[in-house]
Amino acid sequence: MKNRVAAQVHGWLLLLPAAVLLAAFTHYPAVATLWNSFYSTAKPNRPSAFSGLDNYREMANDPVFWQSLTNNLWFALGTIPVSIALALLMAAWVNGKLRGRAFLRLAYFVPTVLPMIAVANIWLFFFTPQYGLLEQLTGLIGVPNQYWLGSRETALGCLIVVTVWKEAGFFMIFYLAAFQSISPALYEAAALEGAGRWTVFRRITFPLLMPTTLFVLVNAVINSFRLVDHIVVMTKGGPDNTTSLLLYYIYEVAFKFWDAGYASALTMVLLVLLAGAAILQFGFLERRIHYR
């Protein structure tokens, strides 16, 4: 009996450091944010006061919020499937026996290593009208000048391209590891049965990669709401908020407008969105995945 108590205490003591960190830097801020979102922001002539759902009402009437949210959904839709598909494709390729494999793997992984701010600055010049890299290439085949970051139609698309480029290599690494853990016996068996390449992929490779796909998907979803560094460098949310994403807007409200109450309310939306996505992914998808 005494031993069991000691074991319990021992166990909790081992958990304590992590639990303290988690409580101090994750749970407490989340609860404090929720609390703050019901208060108005303090101004010199009127201190912070309980304002109920005012911040949320303001949000419902704020066109920039709705635009940032819509932009963010398009951004997620544009980045997640493409970067995952691309990662899978690249992993399949560099997993095969080909010359210069190590170099290719490195090349695909480099974007992940570079800091986003530096990357964004490089891409800024790629997208430059008239003499940017992209313009020089499209100019060769006679496409007229484009103003990639300067027009409402293309600006968000450009940011999606940068993000996919940045992320795909990172996801590739996970797929590569997963590929190498699939037993060759399965492929040999399939070969004996005379299965075609597509069948092999559909019935063996893809299902066995599912745990990795879920992990990558969770990361991709989180990143689509979390990556805003390139917006600061490339567009600052412009033209006219067409590239403003939710987190970037939160940053603006919190650290440019100094409206802590409203920023807290916006943060709650982000939190609920991400929590919802996590529940969906782990609760629903995970049950349909084959783990060994």
Partner: protein
Amino acid sequence: MLKRCITAGLAATALAASTLWAQGTEISFYYPVAVGGPITKIVDGLAADFEKENPGIKVKPIYSGTYQESIVKALTANKAGEPPVISVLLSTDMYTLIDEDAIVPWDEMIRSDPDRAWVKSFFPGFMENSQTGGKTWGIPFQRSTVVLYWNKELFKEAGLDPNKPPATWSEMVDYAKKLTKKDASGNVSQWGVQVPSSGFPYWLFQGFTTQNNVILMNKEGTQTFYDHPAVIEALGFWVDLSRKHGVMKPGIIEWGTTPKDFFERKVAMMWTTTGNLTNVKTNAKFDFGVAMLPAGKRRGTPTGGGNFYLFKKSTPQQREAALRFVRWITSPERAAQWGIDTGYVAVRADAWDTPLMTKYVQGFPQAAVARDQLQYAVAELSTHDNQRVTKALNDGLQAALTGAKTPEAAMKDAQREAERLLKAYRK
């Protein structure tokens, strides 16, 4: 000269010895870097020089990133209870800093006649953004205006007088038409003129509005006039540069790559800050000129750049020491040297009479254009809840420039938003 130095040194030592801070007062000082060049090294050097002349005072310069990062850091530090003693922040942050109750006006420190003369020595154009409600909250330090740079070679190619920049709006459009080149398939290989519109388009827009003889806000910072007919007209002119006249590339033009467009000869004239002067001087491989912005109904430009602010949570000794430091660093010789090193406009008239500056301007007359334009300069847009009220205008400008709204609709929407925000400050 040597004798004068020694006398000055002796006097300074005597003064320092007789005052409170002999035991050692430290003033921390946040500064941003917004232009190219070894700014951090220059600032550290200035602090060391000051300490040498003023034993007992320690100056601790802290590089704090861009202007935007600096205000975030300063206000966060202020909320945490440990702000810097002084900081260089945008002149337009004045109302924000007052509303956050973070700063004190310099007035209470200014008691003697030399002190009063010192405040009066700055160009009045720079003081517009530094004073409100009869008090002086900011001391001009690194200030700028918008100017027009033009490529003399491209002017010559187009059959224009390379030494005559456009003086009016219609001249600018005429010249720009001659300077715009299209290839056989209709692609433009060279644009006439470029006014950047990313990030902070309001600043360049203030050039157009001032030239159209209208101001954007009242002196108290509690009201904007975004939907004034003359403002809408000014925006119409900007939009028409690409839409009607076809001399400027359409859409939003990136601020950061505009100088590069100019170096690459993709554009013959550009509007940008005087702060880029040193950059253009180093990187333009052709003969270029610097001119005042062209006149509409009058000439005009906004000022821009950073002021010294004094934070409230400081001791009386620190405030005394801070005043001493700021007076020292804005003395005519130092203001001149700072202007030459960075490209900013030296902030006081007598700095331009120093031998150092006279010699510099003789070799590089373009440097004096910004000074000469100051008589037409107005305060940069700044109100209470500044960033939000400014964003309303920025969004409207970008909406009009990308063709999503007419100038009139865009400015009406911007004004409605600004009104909503500013109502609380008017009573």
